[in-house]
């Protein structure tokens, strides 16, 4: 059973993602400190809250360096969820500019509501995979996943985009570069479809 | 604290049971109301009904009796034969039929009836048992479904207009008034009270590889089909004063076989003898609601003045909710093996469905279990306001 490290960024509930990983056959454990990452076969970075605070928290625990070592160095498969996906960018723009982990050249920007739309983007919406991303293996394109966010990642390179969602003029809902994966939606709240994504991640 | 009926020992946690201002439950009240019934009148009604729906020339059956071979269905068949009727008896094979259960079915046939047994695909059935256990905490869920769907499907297919059920479970076991008054069964009744626990057959599709084509026998006929044939159902328990023990005596006199000792987790040896998975089913009732088969039986006997309430409390403490290590002598490992589950997983599922509020827990909030895995309820009887009594499993 895959040992999956769930990084504790001090945000709210980690139970949901841990339970979901368990249900998908993984062996989750929570860690907020670099040594914890060394035993992991997979790393998951969840996130709820604000970009600057989350990066500050990672830095203060030495996790930014440790994560880069494990993910970029040792090539451990990584999944960022919601804010966790946004943190892999080079730059966040919430409440001023903050440097992210920088693993994918990208900026995090506020969603622009189209007429009739509201921000934050909350609810079930379609995810349209653009490439052969292993996370979406076995899933019909256009299935709905659960979103709750106001910001989204905009990769500089098209080949890093794994899926888009038709809202706010269209935004990137999943990224993939090598062993780094990110999803803007919450797979642990998206039931069967979400579980398939998690299982695919565990099976990499 | 758990509140109990002051007359019997049923707790308030039972779905659809209502305890009134005098502290008496609806099942006890329903039983009390029986005294006012004119049973002669009811019998006349029954005969009229049977005449109306019966076959004029013997070319079809007079009625259809859903049977299991148990004390009640054996009794129903005997009564119908005594009334000179020609019933078709229909069984939906149970989840794990015991040897004594099979013998009782043979006995029922030899009372002198045509008999059809429908066995659902056992390989698929096991998967449904497993899924029902992990998803709704009721391993016998598929049985609750087929007990209704199979006889009704056959009634439609064979053009038999009258189905004769036994007791209306909502009546004696307590249930909303709307269900108790009526004595006929329609699809709405089934959905609401048939013990389906909110799960529908259509929910199974896509789970554990189950497909729509596996669920034919679990599918209730449409309202249109029922109307075309004109199928209606009655409960015999409306027309005669129903008593499980009395039924058992009568059935035994006609060859029905009982177990050589009280069945595990129960107080008696004359019922629930056919399905070996029943031990698990009854145990989960205890985990969810705080009462098991021993409580059910104690209440039935209290109402008929065969047990005093204080005696019942003692018996319930002793027998109710015992971990089902064995049922009809079959060890739990064998039962779990068939549904592809290990004991550890089973215990995890038990804990998940246990209503922690009803049982003694330690300071960390974990359930307290004895050496055999048995739980203790927080209280086994109503606690007076000024004298809190700790509960313990003493005998």
């Amino acid at each position: 059973m895959s040992r999956v490290a769930i990084v504790d960024t001090g945000c709210c509930n980690l139970d949901s993602i841990a339970r979901a990983i368990e249900e998908c056959g993984g062996n989750p454990f929570v860690t907020d400190h670099p040594a914890g990452l060394e035993r992991a076969a997979r790393i998951v970075l969840p996130g709820v809250g604000a970009f600057p605070e989350a990066m500050a928290r990672l830095r203060s625990c030495g996790l930014d360096v440790a994560l880069t070592e494990q993910v970029m160095g040792r090539q451990i498969p990584f999944l960022g969820i919601c804010l966790g996906m946004q943190l892999v960018a080079t730059l966040g723009t919430e409440a001023g500019e903050t440097a992210g982990l920088g693993w994918i050249d990208a900026q995090v920007r506020l969603l622009q509501a189209q007429p009739g739309e509201r921000i934050p983007h909350i609810g079930w919406n379609e995810v349209l995979p653009v490439a052969d991303c292993p996370l979406f293996k076995g899933l019909t394109p256009g299935l709905d996943f659960y979103f709750v966010h106001s910001y989204a990642l905009r990769p500089d390179r098209d080949e890093d985009v794994a899926a888009t969602t038709p809202y706010a003029g269209g935004f990137v809902s999943a990224v993939h570069r090598g062993n780094v994966f990110g999803v803007q939606f919450h797979p642990e709240k998206s039931q069967k479809a979400g579980f398939t994504v998690l299982r695919n991640f565990l099976a990499l | 604290m758990i509140k109990y009926c002051r007359r019997c020992v049923m707790p308030e946690t039972k779905p659809d049971l209502y305890i009134d201002e005098e502290g008496v439950c609806s099942a006890c009240r329903n039983f009390q109301a029986r005294q006012d019934v004119d049973w002669e009148q009811r019998r006349t009604e029954l005969v009229e009904l049977l005449d109306r729906y019966g076959s004029r020339d013997g070319s079809n059956y007079d009625c259809l009796i859903p049977v299991s071979g148990g004390k009640d269905s054996t009794y129903q068949v005997i009564r119908m034969l005594e009334l000179g009727r020609n019933p078709l008896c229909v069984t939906a094979t149970t989840d794990k039929l015991s040897a004594i259960g099979r013998r009782n079915i043979e006995n029922l046939k030899h009372l002198g009836v045509d008999y059809i047994e429908v066995t659902t695909n056992p390989v698929v059935r096991r998967r449904i048992n497993r899924m029902a256990l992990t998803e709704v905490g009721d391993v016998s869920w598929p049985e609750h479904v087929t007990i209704f769907t199979v006889p009704v499907r056959i009634a439609v297919q064979m053009g038999i207009r009258l189905i004769v059920w036994g007791e209306n479970p909502q009546h004696e076991y307590g249930g909303p008034a709307a269900a108790a008054e009526g004595n006929s069964l329609d699809r709405r009744w089934l959905e609401e009270f048939g013990g389906l626990l909110g799960l529908r057959v259509s929910d199974l599709i896509g789970q554990e590889g189950i497909q729509r084509r596996d669920l034919i026998q679990y599918t209730y006929p449409s309202d249109e089909e029922l109307r075309r044939v004109g199928v209606t159902g009655i409960f015999l328990g409306y027309y005669m004063p129903w008593d499980g023990y009395g039924n058992a005596l009568y059935s035994q006199a006609h060859g029905f076989e009982t177990y050589h000792k009280p069945v595990e987790g129960s107080l008696v040896n004359y019922e629930n003898l056919d399905n070996v998975q029943t031990g698990i089913h009854d145990y989960f009732k205890f985990l969810k609601y705080g009462f098991g088969r021993a409580t059910d039986l104690a209440c039935l006997h209290i109402r008929r003045e065969r047990l005093r309430r204080d005696e019942a409390i003692r018996l319930v403490r002793r027998h109710d909710g015992s971990f089902p290590w064995e049922y009809l002598g079959t060890p739990i490992a064998e039962v779990l093996d068939e549904i592809d589950m290990g004991l550890d997983e089973f215990i995890r599922v038990c804990d998940r469905f246990t209503n922690k509020k009803l049982f003694v827990c330690d300071a960390r909030g974990d359930l307290v279990k004895d050496r055999r895995g048995n739980l203790s309820k927080v209280n086994y009887d109503n606690v007076a306001d000024d004298t809190p009594t700790p509960a313990s499993r003493t005998s």
Binding site: R19, H121, D144, G194 | P15, R188, L197, D203, K357
Partner: protein, 252 residues
């Protein structure tokens, strides 16, 4: 585009789930755990869990119970009942609630809505409004599980909630609750016309058409239902199919 949501509502009383009619005549319907698991199996869009005794008993939310149930809930979960302080909200979010619903507190201490929105985000803050139709055709809002009148009308309360930063309104018709005779379209339209927030219609769902009516004519963003799913053969999946065929954007 964002999909309309179908949300079963679970009413929790003391030890298990109940269902009533007109906020009265409570029937015990069984184990909360089994119900949560069934809805999870049925892939419902969201689940609402309300502790209907908490405020009347003068206590806060039952965290142990929510914790256990949240563990089996792999879709968004809204929890309400007895929420009075920011600590109640924080505690509920920590044990697994995704959103917290405030009913009595929203009227008695509306600043709490602002606190929740600021600290946890407005997407966590649901304001629950229970209303009864009066003999003169107007509506009045009630707190304390429908037992205390407030002299306030639903539009005022909804507007105030929006001003305070709420993310959603859960609007329940006490009269139609449990009756399965259709949602209160007038009440729903009155509120959806007055605020920009998504409104979840609750109280009276009996058929799939009832849901279509309140989504279409009432402009609700989501529908809550309890009796309809507990007591009839209708299922959330079929509801979605029905609504999908009528052209509503439902979740795939």
């Amino acid at each position: 585009m964002l999909k309309v949501r179908i949300m079963p509502t679970l009413l929790y009383k003391d030890v298990g789930l109940v269902k009533g009619v007109g906020f009265d005549s409570w029937r015990r319907i069984g184990s909360a755990m089994q119900t949560v698991k069934v809805y999870n199996l049925r892939q419902v869009d969201e689940l609402v869990l309300l502790d209907i005794r908490a405020t009347l008993d003068g206590r806060g939310p039952d965290l142990a119970a929510v914790d256990e149930l949240a563990d089996e809930c792999f879709m968004p979960l809204t929890v309400g009942g007895g929420v009075r302080t920011i600590d109640d909200v924080h505690a509920l979010l920590m044990v697994g609630a995704d959103k917290v619903s405030m009913n009595t507190a929203a009227i008695e201490k509306p600043e709490l809505i602002r606190e929740v929105a600021d600290r946890f985000g407005s997407q966590c803050a649901v304001v629950s409004i229970d209303a009864r139709r009066q003999s003169d055709g107007t509506y009045e809002v009630f707190t304390h599980a429908g037992t205390r009148d407030t002299g306030l009308d639903p539009v005022t309360v909804a507007r105030n909630a929006e001003r305070m930063g709420a993310g959603e309104i859960l609007l329940t018709s006490i009269d139609h609750d449990g009756a399965m005779d259709g949602y209160d379209l007038d009440l729903t339209l009155m509120v959806t016309a007055a605020v920009q927030l998504p409104v979840i219609a609750s109280g009276g769902a009996g058929t799939y058409q009832d849901m279509a009516d309140v989504l279409g004519q009432g402009h609700a963003s989501a529908v809550a239902a309890a009796s309809m799913f507990h007591f009839t053969e209708q299922t959330p999946l079929e509801a979605k199919r029905y609504l999908g065929e009528l052209g509503f954007a439902v979740r795939r």
